[in-house]
């Protein structure tokens, strides 16, 4: 059976803010993301289905049975095998023909981020560690590219879109990885919810369709069904966004 793909995105092109031109931008876009687990999995799933042309991701380790309750790109048959290869295969199946997916079985390092940000249009932080998210924040700003950061814990989730040229960044909020760490409690419904909201902002950014809540920290309290949006202050002397433009 021949599967017609030419009309796959017809319904989303009905969105007035996306249209044909925006869709073409998605087809030609490259994203770099840290982790494709409970949050990054639904996020990249949405991007692949929306037609993003190239997805580069870093995710280390082998799949555990306890991952399966939230990691939508993984499969029970893959327990004990590398997560990256499974997520790569899932994204290839979900994307349009010709989608390029590269899953790297490693935790992202500053040199990796700098290398891939030369090709990427957008960096996305979906990792459970501040270290990985800050690496992407710094690399995106240094490359003059936007960065979307998303995180969750229990019933809470946060989202931040960092403009390449203006406003506060993640390091303004978290200058250094804080000491408060924990084995985070997670329900897939919550990680997928913030992953989907982050994907929406990624599509907006890649399609170059404002408004995007640049520099506004969005806090979602799922238990109370409440959302707060706060414009962050730039931290004086921020070693990341305070250096904007100097390396260009």
């Amino acid at each position: 059976m021949t599967v017609a793909t030419s009309d796959r995105h017809r319904r989303q092109k009905l969105l007035p803010w996306l249209d044909e031109a925006g869709q073409e931008r998605l087809y030609g876009a490259t994203v770099l993301i840290a982790r494709v687990g409970g949050l990054g999995g639904p996020l990249t799933q949405s991007l692949a289905m929306a037609g993003v042309g190239r997805i580069i991701f870093f995710h280390d380790g082998e799949l555990l049975d306890e991952d399966l309750h939230r990691m939508v790109l993984m499969h029970p048959d893959g327990v004990g095998r590398p997560r990256a290869a499974q997520a790569e295969a899932s994204l290839r199946k979900l994307g349009r023909p010709g989608i390029e997916v590269r899953g790297i079985d490693a935790r992202i390092r500053p040199e990796d981020a700098a290398r891939w940000m030369r090709e990427a249009d957008l960096a996305i932080g979906a990792a459970p560690t501040y270290e990985e998210r800050l690496i992407l924040n710094d690399a995106a700003i240094a490359a003059g590219k936007p960065f979307v950061d998303a995180a969750m814990y229990d019933d809470e989730a946060t989202l931040l879109c960092v403009h390449p040229d203006d406003g506060a960044c993640l390091r303004c909020l978290v200058p250094d990885p804080p000491e408060w760490r924990a084995d985070f409690p997670v329900l897939a419904a919550v990680s997928a919810a913030i992953g989907s909201l982050a994907a929406y902002q990624c599509v907006r950014i890649l399609a170059r369709s404002e408004p995007v809540p640049w520099g506004e920290w969005i806090h979602l309290d799922v238990e109370r069904m409440a959302m707060k949006k706060t414009r962050l202050q730039k931290r004086p002397g921020c070693p990341s966004c305070g250096q904007r433009g100097r390396a260009k």
Binding site: G40, Y153, D154, D155, V186, K228, L232, Q233
Partner: protein
């Protein structure tokens, strides 16, 4: 002049306090934050403090606007609710 701090769920858990904490001294934001820092210290929530002050990565929001250590002299009328938001890490 009482001021109420409203914390996110995770922050309240780490503080060992309820999500809403009322402090009595709050003519300025700095005074209110100092009172809160004292409560956190009494509760043993030392990871939420840095050099005796509220940890700088905890976002302080007054009337929807983010505030920082530079805003310590911000006058408070009393009766305000100040939001405290904690960055989280999980994916």
């Amino acid at each position: 002049m009482a001021v109420t701090f409203e914390m996110t769920k995770r922050l309240a858990e780490m503080a060992g306090l309820s999500r809403c904490v009322e402090v009595g001294d709050g003519r300025t934001l700095g005074e209110a934050l100092q009172s809160l820092s004292n409560r956190l210290r009494e509760a043993g929530a030392n990871t939420l403090l840095q050099n005796g002050d509220l940890h700088p990565s905890i976002l302080v929001v007054v009337d929807g606007e983010a505030r920082s250590a530079h805003d310590r002299d911000l006058p408070l009328a009393g009766g305000e609710t100040i939001d405290l938001l904690l960055p989280i890490a999980g994916g």
